[in-house]
């Protein structure tokens, strides 16, 4: 009996202790230590977007600025693991890595530090990794690309109405030719250019797009060459998913040589390098996710494996319009489209607006579970809508359908 009581007492003690632990799960803002692993430093537009996002978030939730430790210029190799280990041992409670290629190293360290939260930004393995403390996050970049496509479409409509296009700008079937400079042929890029194309086509119906890949995220010369090849082929509008100013600069030069051509950038405003041709750029506001992640840490709540949001959470935007060259009424149209995306009445990947092999797609499996890089579960198309970056499935893009009207050239 005595033994039973002492056992009961011990049990109560354990339970109450764990209850205390649960109630006390939060962290005071001044005690939250953050680690951030960057692939570049404050010279790279991509990293700047993440660093400013994190700093805005820290200010928003009241974490002092000195509580973050940055690791700059960390490659996608064992040094990424070194950096994560170092931050973990340095007492960071949450550690972010900002590049896709850091992910497998982040995962390795996360598996050894179950009490520390790791976030592989733009990654895709968290849910499959089986680790509770590894998360992924990705904004709905395709939404801002769609909106920037609408801006481009308005301009095209104006050019067509003003009869400013020449014969070489049309293909044999009378479609207007547009071009796109992409980095790599995988879902993130495919999803982006498809959204851009659909945005244009929502304004001008008769368009076709050619895509050229550079096989690099940052290659000023390669991006310029790709843009030049597309323009020489008659493309009158150039979009991009690569991080440099190579393409817009090339478009500006082509314009100065007397051609009619315009472009849309990404990540930073291109108006400075291409003042006469850059209409706008598609952008991501990472502070929305960083704020959510830090607030969850302060509240002692678990981060979901996947987080993704777009206009509905103000996580996406387009850079200020180049007022001197955009078509009349663009700002109003953009506001209207943005509001429609935000409230869900407009879906970027509405399957009734595009075809694959001549048919409207009805099924797409988003998740690869067995590691063969083909989707085998997770239906992304519901009621005729392709839900891209659905947090229920995965935050990283998986839209890899090649739709009719777009040709990949290289």
């Amino acid at each position: 009996m005595k033994k039973f009581f002492s056992l009961l007492l011990a049990l109560c003690l354990v339970l109450s202790l764990s209850a205390v632990a649960f109630a006390d799960g939060g962290i005071a803002p001044e005690d939250l230590k953050i680690g951030m692993v960057c692939i570049g430093d404050n010279n790279s537009g991509y990293d700047i977007a993440h660093i400013t996002g994190l700093e805005e978030a820290m200010e928003a939730v009241g974490v002092p600025a000195e509580n973050v430790t940055y690791k700059y210029n960390i490659g996608e190799d064992e040094t990424a693991a070194d950096a994560c280990y170092d931050l973990a041992e340095g007492g960071c409670q949450i550690i972010f890595t900002d590049s896709y290629g850091h992910q497998s190293y982040t995962q390795q360290v996360a598996s050894e530090y179950p009490d520390i939260q790791f976030v592989a930004m733009t990654g895709d393995l968290a849910a499959l990794s089986g680790l509770d403390n590894l998360s992924n996050a990705f904004n709905h970049t395709f939404e801002s690309r769609y909106v920037s496509g609408v801006v481009a479409g308005m301009k095209l409509a104006e050019l067509i109405a003003g009869d400013e296009l020449s014969e070489e700008n049309f293909d044999a079937d009378g479609n207007v030719k547009i071009g796109y400079v992409g980095a790599y042929p995988y879902a993130e890029v495919v999803s982006g250019y498809t959204a851009f194309f659909l945005g244009i086509r929502s304004v001008v119906e008769n368009v076709v797009m050619s895509v050229r890949y550079t096989n690099s995220w940052f290659d000023i010369t390669g991006e310029a060459e790709a843009a030049n090849a597309l323009m020489a082929d008659g493309c009158v509008m150039i979009g991009q998913h690569a991080d440099s100013t190579g393409a817009p600069s090339a478009v500006q030069a082509y314009h100065e040589a007397g051609h009619t051509v315009f472009c849309v950038g990404y990540n930073i405003s291109m108006i400075e390098v291409a003042p006469d041709v850059a209409l706008t750029s598609a952008g991501n506001d990472w502070s929305v996710y960083y704020t959510f992640a830090l607030q969850s840490m302060l509240d002692g709540e678990k981060l979901p494996h996947d987080w993704s949001a777009g206009y509905s959470e103000d996580a996406n935007f387009i850079f200020p319009l180049n007022e001197s060259i955009v078509a009349e009424g663009t700002a109003e149209k953009v506001a209207e489209v943005e509001a429609a995306i935000a409230d869900g009445s407009l879906q970027v990947f509405d399957c009734s607006t595009f075809t694959v092999g001549g048919e409207h797609p009805t099924s797409f499996l988003a998740l690869d579970v067995d590691g063969d890089f083909n989707g085998d579960e997770g239906e992304a198309i519901r009621d005729g809508i392709f839900y891209e970056s659905d947090p229920e499935l995965r935050s990283a893009p998986y839209f890899s359908l090649r739709i009719d009207g777009i040709t990949e050239l290289s």
């Binding site: 940055y70 700059y72 210029n73 490659g75 497998s104 790599y184 096989n215």
Partner: protein
């Protein structure tokens, strides 16, 4: 008679006491730190002592940091040791970068293609062999051309680097996972097949032991074997070597095979023992940094340990001050540059004595 004697007189030293040489090196190190301190304070107003403390902290602050410093020192040292015989022969092997990459690619190939069918000890032994062969091949090609047709080995080995880099990019595109990511990711992450094992719970201990063994063997080879002697004779003068009946061609090809083999083995250690992945940056410029290691140590492989450690220390310190004080990478590169400048400069004062025109002489000149 001496009125044309220059103000500064530079003469080659015939010899220098070892303690004098080390005193000069020490003085240059102190001077380097002083100039860096001025640079740091002038540019950032930070306390230089604190910055130095942070660098120390970055390289040795925690046990893990110390092991990472050891791991990177081991690889740099191994490449330097590989370059030593070639340089001693006065064969300008600037192709270590490519030789390391080829060794790395060979190792990665074994891990990827045979990772499921062979047990780890066999994988390690096989990777070891193929990486040595791959590195040696990359060294032999320019050596044969040099020996047969007297081509310029500096250009040839340099060009071989670009071939190796492109070949690596091709293989990365072939092995990339997931497709389109342009990265191979961690090879055999789950099974750890083909990875060098931890010894006594220390992940990189085996790398360090391996490289120290190679270092000692190379020291012995260069200093006490007939082949080592042949290398230094060819290096001093090919004609002397020929006169002494040494087959210069054979020595050149054999020595470059050895040099490339050790560099290839460094690639094996880098892939199987450290990064467990392969990319064009696996060598990461270390093939070039190792040239400094080999030359500053005058091909004494034991001195190379110190030089390699110093360079890795500077690199780790630079990363730490970038993160701790928000100093950009360029600032830490400048610090590294200043320190290297002084250390390399000290060799000048060891090789040459510098005398100023003495007062006595000037007076005599005036009287005349």
């Amino acid at each position: 008679m001496n009125n044309h004697e220059p103000l500064i007189h530079i003469a080659r030293r015939s010899s220098i006491a070892w303690w004098k040489a080390w005193l000069i090196r020490l003085a240059s190190a102190v001077l380097a730190l002083l100039v860096c301190a001025l640079f740091i304070y002038g540019l950032t107003n930070l306390n230089p002592v604190k910055v130095y403390a942070a660098m120390w902290e970055g390289a040795f602050g925690t046990s893990r940091r110390m092991w990472i410093t050891m791991r990177d020192t081991a690889i740099l040292l191994c490449i330097g040791v590989g370059l030593a015989p070639a340089f001693m022969m006065r064969f300008w092997n600037v192709g270590a970068e490519g030789q390391v990459l080829m060794g790395g690619c060979a190792t990665a190939a074994v891990m990827i293609y045979l990772g499921r069918s062979l047990p780890t000890p066999a994988l390690i032994a096989l990777s070891c062999v193929v990486s040595v062969v791959a590195g040696a091949l990359w060294g032999i090609v320019p050596a044969v051309f040099k020996a047969r047709w007297n081509t310029n080995e500096t250009l040839f080995t340099l060009m071989m680097n670009y071939i190796a880099i492109q070949l690596t990019c091709f293989l990365v595109a072939k092995w990339e996972s997931p497709p389109g990511s342009n990265s191979v990711g961690i090879i055999n992450q789950r099974t750890q097949a083909g990875w060098l094992p931890s010894l006594m719970g220390k992940q990189y201990l085996i790398n360090v032991i391996l490289v120290l063994a190679i270092t000692a063997l190379m020291y012995f080879y260069l200093k006490y074997t007939k082949q080592g002697y042949e290398i230094s004779v060819v290096g001093e003068s090919e004609n002397t070597a020929r006169y002494a009946g040494i087959s210069v061609r054979r020595v050149i090809v054999r020595t470059m095979a050895l040099s490339g083999a050790v560099c290839g083995l460094s690639g094996f250690i880098a892939v199987a023992g450290s990064s467990h992945t392969i990319s064009a940056s696996t060598a990461g410029g270390r093939g070039f940094t190792a040239i400094i290691v080999a030359w500053m140590a005058k091909f004494n492989t034991f001195v190379m340990i110190l030089i390699a450690l110093l360079l890795v220390f500077l690199e780790k310190g630079a990363v730490q001050i970038a993160s701790q004080f928000g100093l950009n990478d360029y600032a830490s590169n400048a610090v590294e540059g200043i320190i290297l400048f002084f250390l390399l400069g000290s060799e000048f004062f060891i090789q040459y004595s510098v005398r100023f025109r003495s007062h006595g002489h000037r007076k005599e000149a005036e009287e005349e």
